[in-house]
Amino acid sequence: MSAPILELRALSKSFGPVHAVKTVSLAAHAGEVIGLIGDNGAGKSTLTRMIAGAIRPDQGDIIVNGQKEHFETAQDARRAGIETVFQTLALVPGLDIVENIFLGRELLVPGATGRATRTMDVAAMRRRVEEGYQRFGLNLPDMRTKVAALSGGQRQVVAIARAVLWGSGVVVLDEPTAALGVKQTELVLSFIERLRSHKVAVIFISHNMQHVMRVADRVCVLRLGRKVHDGPMSKLSGTDLVALMTGATIAAQ
């Protein structure tokens, strides 16, 4: 297999006496969906927040494309090509889809006057989003629709699409389907599946084993901060996953 896009080497993080994450290593390759599972408090979100640059690891290294990175802020991680979509989604309801996708990195009219007057190239931004809609076969309403008018699943898709349109090679999704109904979940899961063919590495956190089994190529299990399993999805059943999470031995077949 080719070199991983993202590699975590023995990451550890403690909060006082609580060892939230203990020497966890993980490699993510382009076009791979990794299901990251574990019981409540297993350390999934803590691991995610270290990858996202929201908190700093006590020990261990984060390597992106062979380069060792020290993220101070979420923007550092984003610049390195890692986008994390938290439950909050980081979307502004009062802005439309295009405005949200380009928020904070608006394109300006090329040339000195464009830069001096801070004039946005609105047409170029729309064109880029239009292209993205087609490239990823995005099933979203018109791109001028305000995010306030979107459903939960559509918002998830916008948040993920923003990451991918900005060329992030790694997208981390912390429980993207937790608050969604059946149809909305389908919207998000099918989009995650489509990302695979676009050479994006996805780390997908979920408590729903069916969702994990549907989209993940590989599954990685955390228990009390330690990685207790890492292997291909195809060999495991839902019962196996639950057993790994809770620490019960896998029932002998």
Binding site: V92, L103, G104, E106, R118, M120, A149, S151, K183, Q184
Partner: protein, 333 residues
């Protein structure tokens, strides 16, 4: 979709039509109303408020407010007057007057945007404090008579257009550019509507409001100087009640007081609506007491309409229905 489009269109243009109807009514009632000189008067009467409304609306869009504008206007005018009286000359005195406004704005901005103090409390303090300071500076002695050059600021005309109206137009055009064509407009909506998200994305959630307060102070100072020029004196009455006139235009214009939503064109129509209403009522000899009642009624009407539109908008959210798993009751016999 069409219903939603119609809805959105009337919402965006409702105030424009209210203004058009108002103008039509006054035109029928008074032959002097719909004339170029009268409209020049309306613009001139509202130019100073208009100048201050532009940064004011941006602050409201960010979820903030500046109640100190009227007091900053009088303080700037009074300090200018003292500078003139002590022989510093017009250019230096003008700069000092404007600097007072910018400095007060920076003071507001520092405490509110950087340190996180309540915008209402800090600028309410400014409302009392800056006017008190202005009265202290004058010591009951109003300076006047600043010469013809300064009179041009408030009373001069270029190509038949009063100078204050030109200044208002310039500020408004800059405002339009920033609001609609520069990234700032979206950033302000993000700051006002979802501050934590904006910060997370890397938008300057402190610096943007800081500079808006500076701009508001500067605009208030310019407004104070224009009025001082028109009066040819730095009276301590300058700017009384100005903050309410500014807020009325902004809120009538449909900018949400909680931030995150609003249009600068709406604010222009709000400003003109109040201007036309005041002027028209005088033209048709309605008691001036009634003017305040009419403006108050218009504000309440605008608030009610806004609620109404928001309700309708919420009803129009295109949420896909979840598949219903229960079998059709009719067929299960």
């Amino acid at each position: 979709m069409t219903r939603q489009q119609i809805l959105g269109w009337t919402q965006r243009n409702g105030l424009f039509f209210a203004l058009a109807i108002l103008i039509a009514i006054f035109s029928i009632l008074s032959s002097r109303f719909l004339t170029v000189p009268n409209f020049t008067v309306i613009l001139l009467q509202n130019a100073v408020i208009g100048l201050i409304v532009v940064p004011g609306a941006m602050l409201i869009l960010c979820g903030l407010v500046d109640l100190s504008v009227g007091s900053v206007a009088v303080l700037s005018a009074v300090v200018f007057g003292q500078a003139m009286a002590s022989g510093l000359g017009l250019p230096v005195s003008l700069l000092i007057g404007l600097a007072v406004g910018a400095a007060w704005g920076a003071f507001n901005g520092y405490l509110i945007a950087i340190q996180g103090f309540s915008p209402i409390i800090i600028t309410l303090g400014g409302l009392a404090g800056a006017r008190g300071l202005a009265e202290f500076v004058t010591q009951g002695y109003t300076t006047y008579g600043y010469g013809r050059e300064f009179a041009f600021l408030g009373n001069g005309k270029l190509l038949g257009v009063p100078v204050p109206v030109i200044l208002f137009a310039i500020v408004f055009l800059i405002g339009l550019h920033l609001w609609y064509r520069a990234p700032l407009g979206r950033h302000m909506i993000a700051v006002g509507g979802a501050k934590d998200t904006a910060a997370e994305i890397g938008i300057k959630v402190k610096l943007i409001p800081f500079w808006l307060y500076v701009a508001s102070g500067l605009a208030a100072a310019l407004g104070g100087l224009i009025i001082a020029s028109q009066l040819d004196g730095a009276a301590v009455t300058i700017g009384t009640g100005m903050e309410l006139e500014v807020l009325t235009a902004i809120l009538l214009g449909g900018v949400s007081f909680t931030g995150g939503r609003g249009s600068l064109f709406g604010v222009l129509f709000g400003l003109l609506f109040v201007g036309v209403l005041s002027n028209g009522l005088v033209q048709v000899n309605v008691s001036p007491y009634f003017e305040q009642v009419a403006i108050g009624a218009a504000l309440c009407g605008a608030a009610a309409l806004d609620m109404f539109y928001q309700r309708l908008e919420r009803l129009n959210v295109p949420v896909e229905s979840e598949p219903i798993e229960a079998p059709q009751a009719g067929e299960a016999q």
